[in-house]
Structures are given as structure tokens and as C-alpha cells.
């Protein structure tokens, strides 16, 4: 009998242990460095619950089955109409009452508002627009007399091209039904919940995203200024302001003078951008829209940079002057100037100018040449600057992520003895870079304002492996290294010159998102030693000043965040640190001082040279020209561009940046969420008694919250006991047999004593302390005493950014003037007056509002439901910052919590408070007082205005929590899945981590079979319902997936602590656990075919007649997640640049301006599942600058035939080779290699030819004397 009992006991133990194989993995985790130690405490309960659940499953017989039901909408209309219409003779297009196409008989002619038409409307084919006919077809023109053919009301007039529309979501009660999204519709449908968008959903590339809360997004065209928020762009041909061809979002349609077109402007016929050629004036205009050009009499060509033969520049000699213009402009200039046209095919502006004797001292531009006197300048540091020299000027320390708030980069230049100041884009949107040339004693510097690519730096963090290299290569970026402790260290790529944030304006709210990237938590782990003292084990340095300093360094480098100073050295503290020493802005005062000789370096030019120029090696090697020479030549085509190489390249930098690229997810290498199920099985299969015993020891240690050496000690003790028991069982020796009790029994007793001792003294107990660093947007100092410093320097005008950095009360006036002034708002001593704003959570309201107090209750007056997040706003009568606390304080400074606007000054403040569960508080030994206070809770709010006036007496917002038992299960609608349901996974994926954020503490399980009861589900998730962070209840698991569709059916069971309630009274109080009855369906799709590149164009050799030439890259992909749909990038100067156009798997990038050479441009395409296909565009560009060659002349059927080596037009003259082609007789009908003229015996034909690039024979291509 005892054997049976022991056997049963062992079976149970083994089952528990097998189930508990998480234990050793997490023990390992604790001894690792990860700060993600929040799992430690939960283990003891998760172990218990898992074990008990399994037992329940084993011991239960469950009925498994599903019942499905469909509710059909059997709506049938049976309206009959037996009217027999009277004979009708006239059709009325519109009646006095507004009806259209009504047949009227003679007594009712007067009812018609318009001229009657003889015959019926049917006979007159009077049509109306049917938004949707009975067959479900949209926008059909049907006879007005047959409204029965239309399912909706007819709309007067024909449908036209603007009828079709896409409805992002139709009105329905079920937000999770994916069939309700992206519905093709018409502009006249009334069942659309969101704004209709012109064009079909396919045209708008309407896509459904998400499963639990699906929503529609539109295509890849979205406003760059709202990264992360995909919106469809429409083309407004003319705005109310008078601007032509502007891309707008549909919400801005009211600002459009005419109806917005349903696509972006580039895709419309009227707003397509190209080159406008004014034949009359001989001018070419870049980025011109088609309609505007053609209606004005211009000729439009589809090459937006005007890299077309007609617009190729050459040197036009006008007497003593020259101009670098197209041939046709030279004609006009020569004519109006009274000169004979003298156009020379010189390639660059500098060559052209060199025609005039000495351009260094004498140059002309459509004027008589004079010799300008060169005047030098002396800069602020006393250095002599040459005329034409430029250099950078700054307003404090620059670089290393330390540019001060409000500072701006300036470019200064010496022009005719006068120093000119030019501000780079404010908010450090541009930085000033400088390059110095030294030759002997001579120094010459050039400077330029170039785009600050701090955004690009952030995106490098996506490239986990290459991040450091990419970041270090890019001079605008730097690697910010945070190395506080072994468990809290990471590298992140940030901008070397942080971008400024909007300190006051409408975009200020985005500032907090940027700064929040610098908010981190370091978890410090303490473990009790054998004496019972807490010893710091992990991340101990996080509790020192080093942590705060390094984190503030990161925070400041993200932009205007953290504790830092403005450009005059005044600052504020904008960080919140808990459990570590603070830091003051005063430590950074020195960064406001300008560092002499400091300047930003320009980007590495070699990348751009290689990109533009290709290589001279390979099969085509027309000339030995270096990249630098080519670049000079390239810039030489730009008026004023040559000779300012650095700046030119900097300008090019603008071209090839990808500003549309959104901010990427930041990857902190050492702080990913450590999901441990990969460790599962590490100890699985242990069958020996010792192993089982060891496992039990570990389990006990874990269940008691022990870590480190204590775990090992318990494991050893357990192993000893287990070995003995195992041995006894295997040898069939009864454990309790008297004979065996002596040795084995004592061994067990000793082991148990050791374990009890450890349990009593607490050795190995762990404690974690979270050290939080919160990075907040920088705020200007209180008041406005420094405002006027902003406009003291007349050479550097004050701006909104500078002014707002000087004080919260500073305000910029006269913005529309060259020198705006910064003034302080008039001082007033009154604090902001707080009042209620808007209740943003449905079903709740403000109640019993008094001057300084208000209550928040349900609409029926009841207390707030537990777990319910309450979102509401409070208003202030002036701009201010607000803080709150749940305990009374005496000053604003003592309060610690900000509203959602954080440190920003606004007049509408948002607060979110998530009501905890009273039962939750109760079970986990939260003190009765706290429960009391949460049960009737006051939120104390104070606000502080620009002048530092804050409310002495707080504004009180009172809540109370509904203590009624929770009778609702986990809400699927409030569940967030990571990754989202419906996500495509990469080809070949077999496992996928899933994180499920749920709205209340619960246990969750899943199965791949629908309709299984919760208890019968075999796969449990790891849920952190013990962590106590009320807003972060999450469940984790690792899903096995196969190719194609994978469906998982999930159910949760709340009140996970319920089974541990001790008394029936408590159980009655909290009622039973709530389990989801229906499955929560989660989809994943594993891509079945890899993404492949079908072709890349161009290939081979491309021949052009001029430089630079415009090349279009094209790549087609197939396979992958969406049958070839992918996002493609090409490598340009080391940066991945998004292709401009993408449609049905074909991506195009027009307008790459290249010089001749061999090119190997890497291309990568990525689909939504992350499948990547790589390829290269390998091609050569050659420039044809040679005139055609006559390769053969012969007689054929009475004609002289001429064959040229390339397509050309040929002309002849009968007198000499010295003739203009325009005056010659043509031998060609079009560009061809064959040319002919009638055979005339005895005559000599002097023949010249011109190829399609305009290369013409300077003398005769051939002389043909014809004989009999």
C-alpha cells in the first residue's frame, strides 16, 4: 500500500517538476545580468498555479466541442408598384422642387424650373448617377426614370470620374470585423464612418492593419511631417492661397480652391513635374508642372531637372562677354544684343568664363567687363578673410550632442569687404560645416549650411550589427555610449548636433516622444547573504551619480531634453530620477561658451564622388578621369556651383538624403525584453532521483524567492534527499521500513533541516530596486528677464526658437520683420486658474464641480470601475505646467508627477489615471490605509505659469473605486498583441515570440484548435500578474509556426490569485474567476516563398550625348509576403535611399544624375514580413561626344547612299564643307544610319552629319564626287 502511495507521490512530483522546467532557466536568468528581473517574484506563484492547473487537467474529463452559429440577414424588399403612368410627353430636367428628370404632362408644365424637352425623359436619355446599383456596381449612370435599378438614391447628373471613393471603415457596431474596412464605395454613400477618399481602395492602396482593433492605412505616401501616422495624400491643383499642385491630406480639402485629385500630384497629368521649355525666350525651368507650362505656351518634357538636349548649356559669346546658357537662349541673347550667334560647346561654366581674359579679376555677366576691386574682411576673431571666403560661426559649444538650446549655426562670408551673416535653418535643422584649404601661409575656408541628419543617425540603430560602423562613418552622428554597470550598458547612435525641439508651438507635444527615448529603468538586484544582510548583486552603479550623468548625457543628445542650458548659459532641470542622485543644469553652464576654432566638418565627399561618377575601371574606360575631376565637371554645370566644391557637395547631400524615412525603433542591445522560453528544456529529461530532488530544491528556493548561492545550496540539499528517495524506490526498499530508516532517514532529515534553516534566515532572498530615469523635454527658465538678449545682436536676428529658449514668459514680436524683437509677457502675480476640461473616457463625467474641487464618477454617479483607465483634461486660464500628487504637499516643487504633457506649458492639461483593483490591492498585502485611500482617492493638482506663479491651494480631483466584484473577463478589445495579429512572418520562420498586453491580471492559454475550454487548453502563457505594475499585465509565449496561415485560439482567466484565497468568506466576496467563453483568434502568416528580385534596370551600356545624364533605376520583385510587393532602397553614398515610386512590385527611381563611368549600385528590397532580397544595378554610362562617321558611300538605284556609324541626320552642300547644317540640303528624313540623295553625275557633294546628341562634323564627314 505504501509503495503505491510513494509511487503516486513520485508521479505527482515528477509531473510538477516537468511542468516546472522554467525554474532553472529563470534561476540562470537571475544570475545573468539582465535588468529584467521582474520575473523573479512571480515565479513562485506561477509555478503553483501551473502545477495545479495541470493536475486539474489530468484529473478532469472535459467535454471538448464547438458550437457555431451564423446569423443571416434575410432582408427582402417586396415593394410593388402598380401605378400605371399616364402618357407623358415632356421631360423636365429639373422641377421647381429640385427633382431631376421628371416626365411631366400638360397640366404640370409650370412645375418645371428648366426648359422642357420634347418626349419622355427616357426618350431624352435623361441620366442620373446611381452610387450603387442593385447588382452592387458602383457609380453607374442609369436612366433617371428607372430609380428601381439603383440601390441608393439617384444623384442628379452623371457620375463622372470623381464618384468612386474608398471608405476606410463603414459604420458598424463591430470594430473587429475586417470586412468593414477598406470598402469601395461612392462619394454619395452615407455609411462611411471615416472620411471618404477619392478613388478606389486599390488606387489608394488601402490596407487593413491589426486584428483586435483593425484600422485602415493608405499606401506608402504619407506626410513626412507626421511620421508614424500614415495618411493618404491627394493633389490640390490650386490652393486657396494660390499655390499650384500641392499634396494635401483629405482633411485639408477645404483649403483647396478646386476639388482635390485622388492621388499625389506626381501621378496626375496636370501636376506632373518636369522641365518647362520656353522656346521664345530660350529658357528651361526645372520642377515645372505640366499644365501650367503648357497653358503658358511652353513645351513640357518629363525630366524634372531639365537634363534634356535642348537645355544643355554651352558657352554663348556675346561680344566681350560670355554666358553659360543653352543654345536656344544664346540665340535670343545674341539677337537682342545685336551680336552674331557664337555658341561654343564648352562643358563647364568655369571653362566658359575662362574665355574672358582673367576671370579672377575680371568677369562679366551680360555686362561690360570691369575689374572689381577685391576687398578683404576681418572676422570677429581678428582673422583676415579673403573676398569670397566663408566660414562658420556658432553660439556655443557644438557637437558631441551638446549644442545648447536656442543656438543656431551661422554661415558668414566676406563679400566685397563686408561680412554677411546667413543663418542656417533654425532649430538646428541645418548645421554649418566648414572646410579649410591651406597652402603655405594662405588659408582659405569655405562653409555651407547643410541638412542636419540627426534623424538618419537614429535610424542606424535599426541596423543592429552594423550600427556602430554606420554611426561612426557618418560625421553627423555619434555613438552615445552608456556604460553604467555590467547589466546596464548599451550603445545608441544619436545626432552629433542634436536637432532643436519646438519649445512652445503646436509641435511641442512631439517633443516628449523624442525625449522619452532617453527614459530608462535600471533594476538593481540585492540578495541577502547568509547573515541576513542585503548585498547589492547587480547593477549597483545605477544607484550612483554616474547613472544620472550618463543618462542625462543621452537625454540631452536626443534634442532639447533633460537638464541642460540655453545658449546664454541659463537652464532648467528636466529629468526625474528615482533611487539615484540627481544632477543639475548648472553643471553644463560652460557649454554656452563658444569654443574658438571649433567647427563641423563636411560629410565625406568621396562617397558622393563615387555615387555620381562611377568608376573608370572595367570594360569601359573612355578616359582617365578621377572622381574629383568628374565632380568638378558635374558642379561646373551648375551656375555658380564650380569652385565651391565643398558646398556643392553639401547641396547634393540634400538631394540624396531620405528625409521621408521615418524615425526607427531604437534598439538598446542590452535591454531587450529577455524572453526565457528559449531556455525551456534545459533541464528536461532529468529522471534520476538526484535530478528530481535538485529540481525540487530549486523549485522550493524559487518559490521562496531565493536566488544565487542559496538556490545552489537548496538544490544540493534537495538532490541529496532525492537521491536517497530514488535509490530507495529503485531498490524496492520501503522508505519507512524500519531497517532502512537509519541511514537514509537521517540523510533526509539533515537535508530538510538545512533547507528550513535557509528558509528561516532568508539567505538568498532577493530584492530589486528600480532606478528610473525619465528624460523630459527641456523647458525655458521661469520668467522673462533675459528675453531682450535675443535681439541685442543686430547681425543675428532673433527667432522664435531663440526667444522661447530664454524664458517661459518670452514672446517674439514683429515676426514678419528682418529683426523681430523678443519681449517678456507683462508680469502678473496670479497663478493659473484651474477648471475642468473634457472627460475623454466614455461613460464618465465630472460631478459636483466647485471652485477648486471636482469629482469623477460614472454617468450614473457610481464609482469608477476598477482597472478602468480614466483620461480627462483640466483647463487653465493661461499657459502653464501642471503636476499632481496623491498626497498633500505645500509647494509645486514637491509634487513629482506631471500630466501627459509633461513639462510643456499648455492651457489644456491631460491626465490619465488607471484605477487599480481593490481586490488586487487586498490580496497582495497592500495596507488597509492604501486601500482606503484608493477607495476614496484625491488627486491634488497644481499648475505654474510662465512667471513661476503656482496655486498655493491645490485643485482636487476626487475618485472612488467601485468595489463591486469583477464579473467581466479579459476584454479582447483592450488587448494588444505584439506582433499584431495578421502579421506576416519571414520565409522559413518556425517560431515566433508573442507578447500579449491585457487589461487585467489573468492567466492565458492557447491552442491551435478552436473552441477548447480554457482548462483543457494545453499551452499556457507566462503571465506577469504578480508584478504589480497595473498598466502592464502581459503574457508571453513562444509560438511554433508553419508555412502559411497559423491560427491560435486564446482564452484567459482572470483573478489568478483567487485560488489562493484562504477563506470562503473572501472567495464569496470576490466571486468566481471569469474566463473568456469565446476564443480570441490570433493570426500569423509565414511567408511561403522567399522574396526575389526578377530584374534590375538599367543594365549594359547606356550612351548619352551630354553630362550629367538622368538615369532611371527600376527593380521588380516577386514572391515574399505580398506577391512581390516590397519596399526597395538603393545605396547612394553609403545611405539606403527609398525608391521614389513603387507599384505592384515594380519600384522606380527616376532622375539619378550621373557622369560617365561604370556603376554598381547595390539595391535591397524588403517586404512587410522582413524578407530581404539583394541585388545590384550594374551598368556603364558612356558619353558620345564624337560626330558621326561616314563608313560607306555607294551608288544604288540612281541614288547616292551614305552609311554612318550611328544614327544621324546628314546634309550636303555642293560648294564647300564650310556651311551651316541649317543651310545644307538634307539627305535624311529622320535620324538614321542610311542617308541618300539623287545621283548627279559630275557634282561633288560636301556632306556633314549630326547625331542625336548634337555632335556634328566640324568639317566634311565625306566628300563624294559622282562620276558616270
Amino acid at each position: 500500500m505504501k509503495k503505491i502511495e510513494i509511487s503516486l507521490l513520485l508521479i505527482v512530483i515528477i509531473q510538477i517538476v516537468l511542468l516546472m522546467n522554467l525554474v532553472p532557466a529563470q534561476s540562470y536568468l537571475i544570475n545573468e545580468i539582465t535588468p529584467e528581473t521582474s520575473k523573479i517574484k512571480k515565479d513562485k506563484l506561477s509555478l503553483i498555479k501551473s502545477g495545479l492547473n495541470l493536475l486539474k487537467i489530468l484529473l478532469s474529463i472535459k467535454q471538448i466541442g464547438t458550437v457555431s452559429a451564423f446569423f443571416g440577414d434575410d432582408d427582402s424588399d417586396g415593394n410593388g408598384n402598380g401605378d400605371d403612368p399616364e402618357p407623358i410627353y415632356y421631360c423636365c430636367p429639373e422641377t421647381n422642387e429640385g427633382a431631376h428628370c421628371i416626365d411631366l404632362s400638360s397640366p404640370f408644365y409650370g412645375d418645371c424650373a428648366k426648359e422642357l424637352q420634347l418626349g419622355t425623359c427616357s426618350q431624352n436619355n435623361c441620366m442620373s448617377c446611381c452610387p450603387e446599383n442593385t447588382q452592387g456596381e458602383l457609380c453607374q449612370d442609369i436612366p433617371t426614370v428607372h430609380p428601381e435599378q439603383c440601390a441608393l438614391n439617384l444623384v442628379p447628373g452623371v457620375c463622372g470620374e470623381n464618384c468612386l471613393a474608398c471608405c476606410p471603415k463603414i459604420i458598424s457596431k463591430d470594430d473587429s470585423n475586417r470586412d468593414d474596412f477598406c470598402i469601395d464605395s461612392s462619394m454619395y454613400h452615407k455609411n462611411c464612418e471615416k472620411s471618404l477618399i477619392y478613388g478606389t481602395c486599390q488606387e489608394n492602396n488601402c490596407q487593413i492593419v491589426g486584428l483586435t482593433e483593425p484600422y485602415a492605412t493608405f499606401g506608402e505616401d504619407y506626410l513626412l511631417s507626421t511620421v508614424g501616422y500614415s495618411l493618404s495624400l491627394n493633389c490640390c491643383p490650386l490652393t486657396k492661397e494660390g499655390a499650384i499642385c500641392q499634396n494635401i491630406i483629405m482633411e485639408d480639402a477645404e483649403n483647396c480652391e478646386v476639388f482635390p485629385l485622388p492621388t499625389i500630384c506626381d501621378d496626375t497629368s496636370i501636376c506632373d513635374v518636369g522641365c518647362c521649355i520656353d522656346e521664345e525666350e530660350g529658357l528651361c525651368t526645372t520642377k515645372a508642372t505640366k499644365e501650367k507650362c503648357e497653358t503658358g505656351g511652353g513645351t513640357w518634357e518629363d525630366e524634372e531637372n531639365c537634363l534634356v538636349p535642348k537645355c544643355q548649356r554651352g558657352c554663348c559669346v556675346l561680344g566681350n562677354n560670355v554666358k553659360f546658357v543653352p543654345d536656344m537662349e544664346c540665340v535670343k541673347l545674341s539677337l537682342s544684343g545685336g551680336f552674331e550667334k557664337d555658341f561654343r560647346n564648352l562643358e563647364t561654366e568655369i571653362e566658359c568664363l575662362a574665355l574672358v581674359a582673367d576671370i579672377a579679376t575680371e568677369s562679366c555677366f551680360g555686362d561690360n567687363c570691369t575689374t572689381p576691386e577685391k576687398k578683404d574682411c576681418i572676422d570677429s576673431e581678428g582673422r583676415v578673410r579673403k573676398d569670397g571666403e566663408s566660414w562658420c560661426s556658432y553660439e556655443g559649444y557644438i557637437g558631441e550632442g551638446k549644442d545648447t538650446v536656442g543656438s543656431r549655426h551661422w554661415k558668414q562670408s566676406c563679400v566685397d569687404g563686408e561680412i554677411k551673416d546667413e543663418g542656417c535653418a533654425d532649430y538646428r535643422g541645418q548645421i554649418c560645416v566648414q572646410s579649410e584649404i591651406e597652402e603655405g601661409d594662405l588659408k582659405f575656408s569655405t562653409a555651407a549650411c547643410i541638412m542636419n541628419t540627426a534623424l538618419q543617425c537614429i535610424t542606424y540603430n535599426e541596423e543592429r550589427e552594423d550600427m556602430i560602423d554606420l554611426c561612426e562613418e557618418d560625421k553627423a552622428c555619434m555613438v552615445q555610449n552608456v556604460n553604467v554597470d555590467s547589466g546596464f550598458k548599451f550603445d545608441i547612435c544619436v545626432g552629433r548636433y542634436p536637432r532643436g525641439l519646438d519649445l512652445k508651438g503646436g509641435a511641442a507635444s512631439s517633443s516628449k516622444q523624442i525625449c522619452s527615448l532617453g527614459s530608462q529603468t535600471c533594476t538593481v538586484v540585492y540578495v541577502k547573504d547568509w547573515k541576513g544582510r542585503w548585498q547589492c548583486q547587480q547593477n549597483c552603479n545605477c544607484r550612483t551619480r554616474t547613472f544620472t550623468e550618463q543618462m542625462n548625457g543621452l537625454c540631452v543628445s536626443l534634442g532639447d531634453c533633460g537638464s541642460y542650458v540655453n545658449y546664454i548659459g541659463e537652464g532648467t532641470d528636466n529629468i526625474r530620477v528615482s533611487n539615484a542622485p540627481g544632477i543639475s543644469w548648472e553643471d553644463y553652464e560652460d557649454y554656452a561658451d563658444v569654443v574658438e576654432g571649433q567647427f563641423a566638418e563636411p560629410p565625406d565627399m568621396s562617397k558622393y564622388l563615387n555615387s555620381i561618377s562611377g568608376t573608370a575601371e572595367g570594360p569601359i574606360n573612355l578616359e582617365e578621369e578621377t572622381g574629383l575631376q568628374k565632380n568638378v565637371r558635374y558642379l561646373g554645370h551648375i551656375i555658380g556651383g564650380a569652385g565651391i566644391l565643398v558646398k556643392g557637395a553639401a547641396a547634393l547631400n540634400f538631394l540624396y538624403l531620405a528625409p521621408e524615412a521615418g524615425i526607427g525603433e531604437i534598439f538598446f542591445p542590452n535591454t531587450p525584453f529577455a524572453f526565457t522560453s528559449g531556455s525551456l528544456g534545459a533541464f528536461a529529461g532529468a529522471a534520476s532521483g538526484a535530478a528530481i530532488g535538485g529540481m525540487i530544491g530549486v523549485y522550493l528556493a524559487k518559490s521562496l524567492g531565493r536566488t544565487g548561492n542559496a538556490v545552489i545550496a537548496m538544490a544540493i540539499a534537495g538532490a541529496v534527499a532525492g537521491a536517497i528517495i530514488g535509490y530507495a524506490y529503485v531498490t524496492s526498499t520501503a522508505l519507512y521500513a524500519a531497517g532502512a530508516l537509519t541511514a537514509t532517514g537521517w540523510g533526509v532529515v539533515i537535508a530538510i533541516i538545512i533547507m528550513i534553516y535557509i528558509a528561516i534566515i532568508g539567505w538568498g532572498s532577493s530584492m530589486q530596486v528600480k532606478v528610473d530615469f525619465e528624460c523630459l523635454p527641456w523647458q525655458a527658465p521661469i520668467g522673462g528677464s533675459d528675453c531682450e538678449i535675443c535681439h541685442e545682436d543686430s547681425t543675428k536676428p532673433c527667432t522664435e526658437y531663440k526667444c522661447s529658449s530664454l524664458g517661459q514668459a518670452c514672446e517674439l514680436l514683429n515676426e514678419n520683420e528682418e529683426h523681430p524683437i523678443c519681449k517678456s509677457i507683462v508680469y502678473e502675480p496670479n497663478p493659473p486658474v484651474i477648471s475642468t476640461g473634457e472627460m475623454l473616457t466614455e461613460g464618465y463625467e465630472f460631478l459636483n464641480e466647485q471652485t477648486k474641487k471636482v469629482e469623477i464618477r460614472k454617468n450614473n454617479g457610481e464609482c469608477v470601475q476598477e482597472f478602468t483607465p480614466i483620461l480627462f483634461t483640466l483647463k487653465t486660464d493661461e499657459f502653464s505646467q501642471c503636476k499632481y500628487s496623491f498626497e498633500k504637499t505645500s509647494t509645486y516643487e514637491e509634487m513629482t508627477e506631471y500630466g501627459l504633457e509633461q513639462t510643456l506649458s499648455v492651457d489644456n492639461h491631460t491626465f490619465e489615471f488607471r484605477m487599480p483593483s481593490l481586490s488586487h490591492l487586498n490580496v497582495y498585502n497592500v495596507s488597509g490605509d492604501l486601500k482606503e485611500s484608493f477607495g476614496n482617492l484625491n488627486m491634488y493638482v497644481r499648475c505654474q505659469d510662465y512667471h513661476g506663479n503656482f496655486n498655493i491651494e491645490e485643485y482636487v480631483v476626487n475618485f472612488c473605486i467601485n468595489s463591486e466584484p469583477d464579473i467581466t473577463a479579459v476584454a479582447n478589445s483592450q488587448t494588444t498583441m505584439i506582433p499584431e495579429s495578421g502579421t506576416f512572418l519571414k520565409y522559413g520562420t518556425t517560431q515566433q515570440n508573442l507578447t500579449m498586453l491585457i487589461n487585467e491580471p489573468a492567466e492565458c492559454k492557447y491552442d491551435i484548435i478552436p473552441g477548447i475550454d480554457y482548462d483543457a487548453m494545453p499551452n499556457s502563457m507566462e503571465c506577469n500578474w504578480i508584478s504589480g505594475e497595473e498598466d502592464e499585465w502581459l503574457c508571453l509565449t513562444n509560438l511554433n509556426v508553419v508555412d502559411g496561415e497559423n491560427k491560435f485560439y486564446i482564452k484567459c482567466k482572470d483573478k489568478p490569485w483567487f485560488d489562493y484565497l484562504e477563506t470562503d468568506e473572501e472567495r464569496d466576496k470576490y466571486k468566481d474567476r471569469n474566463t473568456n467563453l469565446g476564443d480570441f483568434i490570433y493570426f500569423l502568416y509565414v511567408v511561403e516563398r522567399p522574396l526575389t528580385i526578377d530584374y534590375i534596370l538599367p543594365t549594359g551600356i547606356k550612351e548619352y550625348g551630354f553630362e550629367p545624364i538622368s538615369i532611371e533605376l527600376e527593380v521588380k520583385t516577386s514572391g515574399g509576403a505580398e506577391n512581390g510587393l516590397s519596399t526597395c532602397f538603393y545605396d547612394w553614398a553609403g545611405n539606403w535611399v527609398l525608391f521614389k515610386e513603387s507599384y505592384l512590385g515594380v519600384s522606380k527611381q527616376p532622375g539619378l544624375n550621373l557622369m560617365d563611368g561604370n556603376f554598381d549600385i547595390p539595391i535591397k528590397c524588403e517586404d512587410i514580413a522582413g524578407n530581404v532580397a539583394n541585388g545590384s544595378a550594374v551598368f556603364s554610362v558612356t558619353k558620345d561626344s564624337e560626330p558621326p562617321v561616314a563608313v560607306r558611300v555607294f551608288y544604288e538605284v540612281g541614288e547616292l547612299k551614305l552609311i554612318t556609324n550611328e544614327e544621324a541626320k546628314c546634309y550636303y552642300d555642293l560648294n564647300s564643307c564650310d556651311f551651316d547644317l541649317v543651310n545644307g540640303s538634307s539627305m535624311s528624313l529622320s535620324f538614321s544610319t542610311e542617308h541618300s540623295v539623287e545621283w548627279s553625275v559630275g557634282q561633288t557633294h560636301y556632306i556633314k552629319c549630326k547625331d542625336i546628341w548634337g555632335n556634328e562634323n566640324p568639317t566634311c564627314a565625306i566628300k563624294a564626287k559622282l562620276s558616270g
Binding site: 568664363l353 551648375i638 558646398k647
Partner: protein, 261 residues
Amino acid sequence: MKRGKKAQVTIFIIVGVLLITSIMLFFLLKRDVLPGIGEKPEENPGGFLENCIEDKLIEGIKLISSQGGYIGNPLNRTFKFSDEKEYTDISYLCYNQNNYLPCINQEPLLIQHLKAEVKTYILDDVQTCFDNLVLSLDKKGYVIDATYNGFEIEFATKKIIIDIDGKIILTKSDETTSQENLEMILPSRFYDLALVVQEIVNQEARFCHFENLGFMVFYPKFNIERFRTGDGTLIYTAKHIETQEEFKFALRGCVIPPGFW
């Protein structure tokens, strides 16, 4: 020797008389326009019209140049430089309301547009001047047969040309003269500045940048200044240094907003 001197003096006198006579004949014969009408400006129709229209034309050119090439345009940026007394609505010649993106050329045929604007500005005045000319001649006692069919404007380096499509036939003392297609030429750098402006717009639309310093180094007759306003608008001022004529215009493209988006 004395005889020789006398003969020499005689020859000088004869040559002098011939020279004076030929000069007189030259002017007499050259003045084929309205012979005998007199030497006063109003009696020289070209000169009269030039004088009449000059002020209005200069005024128009100045206005259009200061307002970005428009007499009036709703797409403008109101601005005042320190040396100005009043705010000016400076038109955008290139504009993109979205951030980061290059500007869209708003007047691809700039020269044609400027011609139209100038023409609009002086339209009534040219006819009035023509009428005044006819009236003036009428007062002088001429019998006049005049027709006016409008005018065209041409821009060229250093000048603006106004071609009046009209005809004046004068009769006095049985003598009839006629004048067709009166042409007025006014010195101006407006065209040269407009070409510079077009170049700036072209490069800004293409590169988001115009290298004004490089341009000024190569073409020192021009001074190009650029002012960046708080909202990212660029206001360019292209000035012809010698004549101090200038052309201001606004441009919005590749604007970088605060922060990351």
C-alpha cells in the same frame, strides 16, 4: 610760299563749308520723321511716348520687382526689411507647403509672366500717352489720322522695349508724313535680374540650395542675399550693383521643421 598759304586756307575753308553743309544735310535728311514739325520733345513721338510712359513703367517694374514678380498675388509672404518703411507682400515663385520636399515652380515661364504683369500695369497708360501724343500734335495744327492697336513688351539685356502697334498720319500744309509701330526703349536691368531669379529658382527646386556666394564670385555685378524667416521661407534679394535695381521674391521648399517630424 604766301600763295601757297592762301591756297591752303582756301582749301580749308572749302572743306569746312562742305563739312558743315554735309552735316546739315545729314541731319536734314535723317530727320525723315515728321519733317518740319519742330524740335520739341512732344513733336518727336518716340521721345514723347518714352517720357510719358517712363515713370509709370519704372514704377511698375519697381513694384513688380519688390513683390516677387507680381502686381498682386495671394501666395505671398508679408515681410519688412530693416531699411523699408512698409510691409511688402512678397510672392512665392517656388512653393511647397509640405516639409522636407523641394519646392514646386509656381511660374515656369517667368519671363512671359513678367511681361504680362508689366503690360497689365502700364496698359491704360500707354494708350493714354498715345492719345496725349495725338492731342498734342492736334494742338500744333496737324491733321491727324491715328490708329492704336495695343502694344507688346520685349525684355532684353539692359533694356525694356515697348512696341506700339499703331499708326499716325500727319498732314500739314499739304505735307503728309506717317509713323508706324512706334518703339520705346527704356534702360533697365529687369531682364538680367529676372534671368538670375530664374536660375535661383531652378537650382532651389532641384538642389534645395543656391550657392549665392559662388554666383557672386563669378558674377560680381550681382549681389544675391538670402534671408531665412522663422517659418522656413527664404526671401531672396537679387541686386544689380551698378544700377541698384533689385528683385525680391520668396521661396518655400525643403523646410525642416523643429524636432524629428
